[in-house]
Amino acid sequence: MKIHRYEKIWLALSFGIILAFMLIIGVQAFAFEHAPPSHKEIIDPQKVDVTAPFDNPGVFQTGDNEYEVVMTLQAFGFTPHEVEVPAGAKVTFTLTSKDVIHGFQIAQTNVNAMVVPGHIQKVTQTFRNPGEYLVLCNEYCGIGHEMMGMTITVK
């Protein structure tokens, strides 16, 4: 088997690019904590309403400039339906589903997570700019899927 010199260069370049991708992703994920939402906690999907913290959804201040938003997703809405947080605060969303799989996407941010019944998902975001952010479900969840949206007001 004979490999052309140009092909060797091309293969080396290809390999280098893929390796560079891996390195950048690795550093981002593990050094800067930019790993994708990957929370590993389980819950009985039929008892969400009586299981803490989801028996009391809402916005809670958890520290100096830190907030937790406890939220349930169900066809076809989010509870709570309206959320207000201050600009610049670190906000952690703690999410679970009461029925089928839903998506949790905040348009024009990098927040994007799957919310699967039986599992608790967490995702953190700092909203730098004030405004009214659109949150939507991006996983088909039934006939009202396109209505499943809400807003987060950042002041």
């Binding site: 929370h39 799957m114 659109l134």
Partner: protein, 562 residues
């Protein structure tokens, strides 16, 4: 003695097929597969147009046939029916041509597979039409369709398995009769595709069987994440099966059409083996933003997904190497002069060429999606829909279209007239422009946050959502062009099958660049390739599947939300 007699009989038969073309029985089989594939394109294309117009806010679906029903049917028709029927029809014709005919009992198997898939599809589509299975082609539980839907899916898979085993038997028989010879290259590709079809679909079959019992009420609850993971172990493999099918034509057929030679035989076989080995764990990248799996595992899977890019990059080199060599051999001079020597007016070249070019942005988008952080930006947005209309809808489908302009006349013992060739060129251009608008605007509006699988909405006139609307109009324009393309394409296929002038059409298989080149025999040892594949699958899946089973939450009951 007996061996020798068989040998002469064999070569005689092979010579006969070369001279007279495909046997009537093999042609009928492949023509039936092709007919189903292009009917699926016709119906699926119309459903696609409806979707495009609805998302642009131009039409509103009636309550008895909702957007999501249409979307479920569009997905099933185009990703399950069109692609599978085309690939099997094409590869069985290829086996028939390169192995001197499909064995009679293998042909029977392919027919059983054919009817099994048709019956399965009818089973699956009835509840879709009755709005009892509006669960998309991904059918994620705990959304539960009618059991009939899952039974239909299971029948389709079994039908595909029968065709896969038929192909294995045919190849194995040929090898026994031709000791020391390499499996002909197109049959080698076919083997790779059928190996992936079989092994890749084991996970989803287990899932579907569980879903049958669960939706029928025999099992009370289902493990949602386990189902989802089993599904995706197949989901992406399927995509690469289509891709490998298209690639087989790029390596084997296109060089012949442009009057050149194939790329190195050994490297071609290495690319096939690598695609088969690295493929199945690739599906995990659909779960990058899922819960229940840790960042380290996801990181490993990014690596496993990206390794598929490597053979694809090798393919890019191989293709342009062949083009340049052929162009120069025909007298093309200078840095790009060879480009002028390629047969641009021949649809059999133009369509697959555009398909290859489309794969450059499509593959780059795929690499972007596979990486952890970028995935978060585009996951489940219209970007993803744009991505697969570029990969599957353009790279794969345009190659299939290009194939149809010689394969169908070959099967029907007719010829491609210059007029029909021109029709094909026009169709190729319409398809390219249509996809440029549609997939392009889908990609862009996805970056702006527009979600996939969502019927027309402005989220209460939210400013962000209103900003997506202009791109949806572009999407609808692209979709309209595409349906014109569909109509021309389907017309061309059935014209070539039944009405074109009678005559001889060749099955174009290029010779290897260096005919005396002896590829190492290990390239033909499918046992080794399969063992390596299973090892890679185990590295990717043993830990997460065990974790999802051992640390499972209480399961979910069937839920209907539509």
């Amino acid at each position: 003695m007996k061996q020798q007699k068989q040998e002469t009989k064999r070569t005689l038969k092979e010579k006969a097929t070369q001279a007279l073309g495909i046997s009537e029985a093999d042609a009928k089989l492949s023509k039936s597969y092709m007919s189903v594939a292009f009917l699926a394109l016709l119906i699926g294309g119309f459903l696609g147009l409806l979707q495009g117009l609805e998302r642009a806010g131009l039409v509103q679906m009636p309550s008895w046939f909702t957007y999501y029903q249409v979307l479920t049917a569009h997905g099933l028709l185009l990703v399950l029916v069109l692609t599978a029927f085309f690939a099997i029809g094409y590869f069985y014709a290829g086996l028939s041509h390169t192995l001197g005919g499909v064995l009679p009992h293998v042909r029977t198997m392919a027919w059983i597979g054919f009817w099994m898939k048709i019956v399965g599809f009818v089973f699956a589509v009835i509840p879709v039409l009755m709005n009892d299975a509006t669960v998309m082609f991904t059918f994620y539980p705990p959304m539960a369709a009618s059991p009939l839907f899952y039974i239909g899916l299971a029948l389709i898979v079994i039908g595909v398995w029968i065709c896969a085993f038929g192909a294995f038997i045919n190849v194995a028989t040929w090898r026994k009769q031709n000791p020391g010879k390499h499996i002909p290259i197109l049959a080698f590709f076919a083997t790779g595709v059928f190996v992936l079809l079989f092994f890749g679909s084991i996970g989803v079959t287990i899932e579907v069987i569980m879903l049958i019992f669960w939706s029928a009420g025999v099992m009370e609850t289902i493990n949602v994440m386990l189902s989802r993971t089993l599904f995706w172990s197949f989901g992406h493999t399927l995509v690469n099966i289509w891709y490998l099918t298209a690639v087989s034509a790029w390596y084997v057929i296109v060089p012949k059409i442009i009057g050149g030679k194939r790329f190195s035989d050994t490297l071609t076989r290495v690319v096939v083996a690598m695609l088969v080995i690295t493929n199945i764990p690739g599906g995990f990248h659909h779960q990058i933003v899922d819960p229940a799996m840790g960042p380290a595992l996801k990181y490993m899977h990014v690596f496993m997904s990206l390794s598929i890019a490597f053979p694809s990059l090798m393919t890019a080199f191989a293709m342009f190497y062949v083009f340049e060599r052929t162009g120069r051999a025909k007298g093309g001079k200078g840095l790009f002069g060879w480009l002028k020597k390629l047969p641009w007016k021949d649809v059999r070249f133009l369509a697959p060429f555009i398909a290859m070019v489309a794969f450059i942005p499509a593959g780059a988008g795929g690499i972007a999606q596979t990486t952890n952080q970028l995935n978060q930006v585009v996951h489940n947005t219209m970007w993803v829909v744009g991505h697969f209309h570029l990969t599957v809808g353009t790279s794969v489908i345009l190659t299939f279209f290009g194939i149809s302009y010689w394969l169908i006349p070959y099967l029907s013992k007719r010829v491609l007239t210059p007029a029909m060739n021109k029709v094909g060129v026009i169709q190729t251009i319409i398809w390219t422009v249509g996809m440029f608008f549609m997939a392009g605007s889908m990609h862009y509006v996805g970056l702006l946050g527009s979600p996939r699988r969502t019927s027309y909405t402005t989220y209460g006139d939210h400013a962000v959502a209103l900003g997506w609307d202009p791109y949806m109009i572009l999407l609808a324009i692209g979709g309209t062009l595409l349906i014109i393309g569909v109509l021309i394409q389907v017309y061309a296929v059935f014209h070539l099958m039944f009405f074109a002038p009678k005559g001889q059409t060749e099955f174009p298989i290029a010779e290897s660049e260096e005919p005396q080149e002896q590829s190492p025999l290990w390239t033909d040892r499918w046992g080794v390739i399969i063992a390596l594949m299973i090892l890679v699958i185990a590295i990717g899946y043993v830990v997460p599947l065990t974790d999802l089973i051992v640390n499972a939450p209480p399961g979910s009951p069937p839920i209907r939300t539509w």
